[in-house]
Every structure is written in C-alpha cells, then in structure tokens.
Amino acid sequence: MNAAPQQAPSATDRFAEAWAALLHGRVGDHGGTLTPGTKRRLVARTTALLHRARNEDPFDPALAEEVGALLVHAHYTDPGMLARVVELVQEPPLAEGRGPELAGAFAVGWAVTLREQTLHEQESIRLAADTARQGAERALNASEARFRALFESAAIGIGIGDLEGRILEVNPSLVELFGARTEDLEGRRVDDLVHPEDTPGVWEAYAELISGERNRFQVDKPYYRADGEVVWTNLTVSLIRDEDGKPQYQVAMLEDITDRYRLQERLRYQATHDALTGLPNRAAFFERLEALFEDPAPGARLGLCYIDLDGFKVINDSLGHEAGDQLLTAVAGRLAGALAPTGHLLARLGGDEFVVLLEHCRGEQQAVSVAKTVLDALSRPMAVGDNQLSVGASVGVLERTVATTTPMAAVRAADLTLYRAKEEGRGRWTVFDPGRNALSVSRYAVSVRMPTAMDRGEFFVDYQPLCALSDGSLVAVEALLRWRHPQFGVLGPDEFVATAEETGVIMPLGRWVLEQACGQAASWVRRFGAAAPQVNVNVAGRQTRAPGLVTDVARILSGTGLDPHRLQLEITESAVVGRDDESLKTLHDLVGMGVSLAIDDFGTGWSNLSYLRDLPVSGLKIAGSFIGDLNDPDRDEALGWRIVGGVVSLAHTLGLTVTAEEVETEAHAQRLRAMGCDWAQGWHYGRPVRPGEISRRIAESGLTR
C-alpha cells in the first residue's frame, strides 16, 4: 500500500514502527478507547500520509495537515501528543529544511481541527443544555398547571402563607368556607384568625412550625366566618422547605367539620346534662370530681354537699309525675340561682338527689355555708302549677383533703352523711363524722358478701338476643351477669357491678363471666354450627386497664375452643376516653387475636367522635336512653331521631356496625331499619333469658329457615 520506496527500506520501516508505537503508546492514550480495527486503520492511513509528506516533492503541506486532523478526530487531543509528533516527524532522514515545514503543517492541521471540534462540541453541549432546559420548563409548566387545577378545584380549603404569617393565596373552597371574598383573605395575617375556643397549644404549635421546629400539626379549630358565624374545621398546617431544608412557606388545609362538631357537641351536652333540669348530670359531676384527684396540689381540699329533697315521693305520688318534674325543675332553678355567685358545680345525680362540688375548698366552714345557702334557697314555697309547694331538703356535708380519700369514697361518705341527716330529722345539714360512718355500711353489704357469693355459686349468666334489623334473625347474644342474693333476690349488673369494680372483685368475676359465656357460645357452635350466635361480653374499665386481660381471654378461648371471631367484648366510652397507652395496647392486642370490640352505651359518656376513628372497634351500641327517650312525650322526638340518625351515619362512615339498645316496639324497629341501623336489642326482640331458651330459639329458626 505504500508508495515505492525511495529511501532505504529499513529507515522507512523504522519510522513507521516509531509512529505506530507513538499511537499505541501511553502518552495521551486515548487510543485505548479505540477498537483495534479503528486503530489499525488510523495507523495505516497516517503512516502512508506521513510517508508521502516526508518524501514526495514538492512538499505538500495538506498531507501533514490531514494527519493532524485525523489524530484529533480519533481524540488524540492531549497537547503532550502534539509535542511528540512534532519531534518524531522531523527525525532524519529527511530532505533539507522539510522538518520544520512538515511539523508546522501537522500542527496547523491539528490545531485547526481541534479548534473546530472544540467549537462544535461546545455548540452541541449548549444545544443539549437548551433542549433539556426547555423540556424541563415545559414539564414544569405542565406540572404547575396540574397543581393549579388541583388547588382551584380541591374540595378542601387550602391557603398558602409566608413565614411572617401573611396569607399569600387561598383557593375557592377556602374562600367559600370563610364566606368571604378572596381579597378579604389574601394579605391578612394568620394570627388574626384566633378564636376564643382555640385548643390550648394550637398557637404554640404554630410558632414551632414557623420557626422550623416541627413540620406539621393537625387540630380541630374554629374560625369566624365573614358573617360572624363559627365554622369548625379540621386544620392541617405543613411547613414547606426548600432544597436545603430552609423553611419557605406554610400550607394550611382546612376541612369543614361543623356538622360533625355540632353533632358531637349535642351528644356531649346530652351526655353531660340532665334533660329535665338542664343541670350537669351524674357523669359530668364524676368527671369533674375525678379530675380533682388526677394531680392534686399538696394540701388541696374538696367539699361535697349531698342534697336530697324531703318528702318528694309524697308530692310525686299525690300530685303526679308531672308536678314532681315541675318541682324538680323549680328546685334546680332556685339552687342554681343561689349558688351561681359561689361558682361551685351543682349537678343532679338522679331522682331528687343533687350535689354541690366545692373544688378548691378552704375548709369545713365553707362547705357548711354552702349547705346553709342550699337550705335557705329552698325555704320559701315554690309555685308548681296552681300549687305553692313547700319542700325541704337534707344535706350531707363532707370536707376533706383530696389526698386522704378517693372519689367513690368521698361520694359514699357524703351519701351516708345525708342519710344520717335524714335520720336525725330532715331539713338540716350534717357534717361527715368518720366514727359514725362505720355504723352505716349496711347499704354496702353487697360488697362484703360478693367474694363469698362467687364461691357459693350465687352468680349466673343470662343471654339477651341481638337481632338483625333487616330480617329479625338472631345474630348475637349479650351475656348479662345476675346475682341471686340470698336476701335481696336476683340483682342485675346495675346493682352491684359498680361496687365490684370499686372493690376489685370485678377481676375474678369478669373472668368468670367470660368463661361461662365463651363455654356456652362454644357449645352452641358445636350444636348448631354456623347458626350459632356471636356472644357479647361486657368488660369493665378496670379490666381493660389491668394487665392480664389479653392472656385471660386467650386462655379462655383456647380452653373453651371458641373461635375468637365469635366473641365481641363491649367496652364503655369511659373505659376508653381517658385511654392511656396501656389500655389502648390491650384493645389492639385483643383485636389482633381475632376478638372484636364494640362501644357500649354510646352517647352516655363524652361521646368524643374523633377518638372512635383511632380505636380498633368494629361496633357501636347506641345507649338505651336514646331510644327509651323517644317514648317520652315531653321530649323533642324529632331531635332525638335526628341524633340517632346522625350517630348511625357517622358510625357507618367509620365502618362500624350499629346496634340500637332498648328497642321495645315494632314502630321503633321500623324507624331504625329505615335509618340503616344494623342490629337491635330490647324487649321487642327478646328479654334476657336462660341459655336453654336461646338454644330453643336457634333450633326453631333453623326449622323455619
């Protein structure tokens, strides 16, 4: 392939060898990246060109320039390479003066090509960068458009603010939520939006967020709308940071929960107030009382005035219940009026019993003066219908340091003291006397007898049907504990469970009921298979708080062979409202085992709807008092049904099965069915009965099916 040799072959070969070695060498070894074929072709072509450039006459610089260009194209661009080539091409033998010419021509070709290639590469990378940037901008525009659409059409209210608390932008839903115009909100300050009912701590949380100490918080918060109305929202505020983590903006998302909140408030009011007199009720009283014991200051004192009207029963019996109720309402009004200046809590405990709680009592004298105020207030006759009725009262006064008593003991002592006041001749107040207290325990004999009653087999369990409202079929039974008391006859749980809980007897007793109920349920399953009902067992708050419930249940289930899915434990709201982590863990462990949980007596406790969401419960039983009240002509029946309907729809939202308790008529069953309530329990569907009666019912339903 070479031109005819004019020089000694050995010299030509020597040069070609040195040239090939240079291209294969390590100086600026871009060559390693060339395939052997490419490199071979490059060496051959450049060797030939150089051979001609070195030997042909006249000297043609284009040949050497091309070699320079070829090397650059092959990416031999290291300046060190240029130096070596310039040196090598001038190696003798070479015509006179050709060396510098040849080297110069090579350098020209190398430099021009390198410059062109550099410019070309710069241009192409710029073009690539521009293309990429345009692509990114288009994508950014598209994503902004999507975000904008999301922002504009979201059902949830969204507002964006800066770190100084200025509202920068709001979406239409937020504008609507506030009943305002966009310009009313944008530019306003977030901290203008305080409301007196703001949860304590919400503004601290906000300050922490703004300063970057926390990334988000969530809270239920009220706002004033433009028209002055209040809107309750579930508010989530998040901090937006830049790439380096520096806080940039805050984003608030507000969901209107006013309806839910109002329902909850109504339930809470109903649960904590006496419907007849409007006074706080028993639950509210105990709530306040127990709060005193939570974290008492050293030396903190409390006072109780336990009030019972004298001769109320006579008035009730002779003038009728209506007059009795009117009298109670009048008494409540008198007492509330007289006590208002003192600021003490007045509650109606039930019947004709009232109580005054002195939360920060300064001593016995203060409690006694409250008792006197009470008696004074009732000294003048009261107008009831056409009658002027004089009604007296007796007051039991207890005044103690918080540290020396318990809520139950304090109430019991006040009650006993009242009893003594009655015995001593009515219309008077009596102060608690520990010495005399011991003599009056007969009323609490139940608690003494209870432990031995267990050993003597005085307890037994009845079962009450829970039926599907859709077709009346038996779906579950509730186990109800009974005590066949040798003196008092058969007692229901209402009459002794509170005492059992107080004394701790509830622990062995609760286990015993679980064993009985699970054993019975398992025997139904063996006998009737799938037609056997689920069994519901009540669990007291004390049981859920004590360790060992989970192991007890597990042991009983495995001992009786009952499928955990056939056991539902009924817990009361009060057992879970003040839920500590431990009892919550107990509940989760039970559910993890396959046992289901239902909230019993819903509507009688605090009815905090938001906790329902967080509890592992699958059922909710609407307290009998709701349904029972629907029979009461004095009650606003429409409102009652609205509340029940609200509870049912809320429970369904949370995926809970709803059982209505104390359903006594077909009319109520129909109404509940129409509302979508799932199950019902009450005399209309069957009273609590012996297990044999339930067996008969299951067998019968099997026949008719």
Binding site: G28, D29, H30, G32, T33, L34, T35, P36, G37, T38, H75, T77, D78, Q117, T118, E121, Q122, S124, I125, L127, A128, A129, T131, A132, R133, G135, A136, A139, L140, A142, S143, R146
Partner: protein
C-alpha cells in the same frame, strides 16, 4: 430522593455534572466552566484521574467487544453520560453490524445531547430514567422493547454504581435488573474501588459530595457481591487493565493505582 413522575428534573447548570466532568477528563469539550473547574480541582488533587477515566473507557470498549463476540446483540447502557467517542453502538457494530443499544441516563442534558447525536441512528435509543427506580426504568418503552424478544442482553453499569449511595441500595438495584433479564444475559460493571489508593478515597469523595452525584467508593468484596446471581467471567473482579488486556504489556506495574475495579458476569 424520590419525586413524583410529573415533577420535572431540574437542569441545574450551576453545578458540575459527573457526565460532563468525565468528558473533560477524556479530553472532550462537551462541558461547561463549572465542570472544568471541578475537574481541574480533582486533577490537582489526583493527577492520575484522566488516566483512570481513559482506563475505564478502554474497559468499556473491551467489555462491549467481548460481549458482542459472545453473541450478544442487545445492549443496555445505564448511566451512559455523554457517549462522544467509543460509544457502545460504534464498538458493538464492529462485531455485530445490527447491534441495538439503549442508552439510559438521568441527567437531562446528557440525554438531550445523546438524542442529538443519535437522532439518525434507527437502532439506538436514548431514555431519561433514574436507575434508583429500576421498575420505572424497565417500564420505559425503549427498554421494554429491547427486552421483549427474550434474547440475552448486555447490561452496562460502567462507572455508575458508585454514584448510588448505600441507602439507595446498589445491591438491590442489580438484583432487580438480574431478575428482569433473560438467562444468558451479561453484566459489565466498573466501580471506584477503595483499596487501590486509600489516601485519595476520602478527599475525592469529599469533592463529589458537593455535586448532585456524590461518590461512594467500595471495596473489592462489596463490588464482587454486586455480581450475585451472575457467573463471573475470568479473571473475575480485577483492576481495569487486568481485565482481558489486548497484550500483556498493556498491564502496568501497579494496576491498583487506577483504582477502578471491573468485571463481567453471565446470568445462568
């Protein structure tokens, strides 16, 4: 690290970019002042870097050639950067003229550049994807097409896994790629090794820590473990120049000074 698909990647030209820095090391001009500043700083600290990069490029060339000779005609080059010269399709086609190549990179500039370069090549595709989302990468139409016939493919992870931090789980990424490719497929991998120049590892990683692509150098054991599920081709995981040298003289006296460890494996 993850962002929703609809949020665009930035093209931040104020920060040096590994692909363009690499181009500078190789003597190219597909780079900007920030890239050159970073590269010069790196070279000042570690003068052999350009040689290391060339050795890496040379390994890529030999590995592609080897795999093409083994009969593989489908190539998936993940972290292809700016394939200016000695690109996979050019090398492969010296052996197999109809070799198909899919180039994958997550840097939009590198991708745009590759597209400009390859717009007239019907057998090459360029995909913008991030290997940290392997499923997303495999779901890209061009990648799915490459895999569709079920023929063995060659996966190239050349000088790319050291840009995956331990938290981003490089082993997991390779494992998922392994399960996605048919038997007979091959994996070629190069990775910055820790043992070769322990004195340089710290400062060099510090330098890359400021870029969008921080560097994690790993030891031989970790690099070998990346081949789990692949049968390593002789001589196993070695330094650049020790892998299938074209002649014995090409292996320098201290191959470990080039720090990069490489290997090729076959999925059985």
């Amino acid at each position: 690290m993850s962002r929703p698909k609809w949020v665009p990647a930035g093209t931040d030209l104020d920060k040096p970019n590994a692909a363009r820095v690499y181009d500078y090391y190789l003597g190219g001009s597909h780079n900007f002042a920030v890239d050159r500043a970073m590269a010069r700083k790196a070279i000042e600290l570690w003068p052999e870097l350009p040689d290391i990069m060339r050795a890496n490029r040379a390994f890529l060339r030999r590995a592609v050639q080897y795999m093409a000779e083994q009969g593989v005609s489908r190539f998936l080059d993940i972290g292809s950067g700016i394939p200016t010269f000695g690109a996979v399709h050019e090398i492969a086609r010296e052996v197999t003229p109809d070799a198909r190549v899919v180039y994958v990179d997550r840097d939009p500039v590198a991708v745009a550049h590759s597209r400009l370069l390859l717009k007239d090549d019907p057998l090459s595709e360029v995909v913008e994807a991030d290997m940290r989302d392997v499923e997303g990468l495999l779901a890209e139409p061009a990648v799915a097409d490459l895999l569709a016939p079920g023929e063995p493919i060659a996966v190239l992870l050349v000088a790319v896994l050291h840009f995956i931090t331990d938290e981003e789980d490089p082993e997991g990424i390779v494992r998922r790629l392994h399960s996605a490719v048919p038997p007979g497929s091959m994996l070629a991998l190069s990775h910055a090794g820790l043992e070769g120049r322990p004195d340089q590892a710290g400062p060099h990683q510090d330098l890359y820590a400021r870029t969008p692509t921080p560097l994690t150098m790993r030891n031989r054991e970790r690099i070998t473990a990346l081949f789990n599920g692949f049968e390593l081709v002789e001589p196993g995981v070695v330094y650049f120049s020790e892998w299938h040298p074209e002649n014995p003289a090409a292996v320098e006296a201290h191959p470990e000074r080039m720090v990069g460890m490489v290997g090729v494996g076959r999925r059985s």
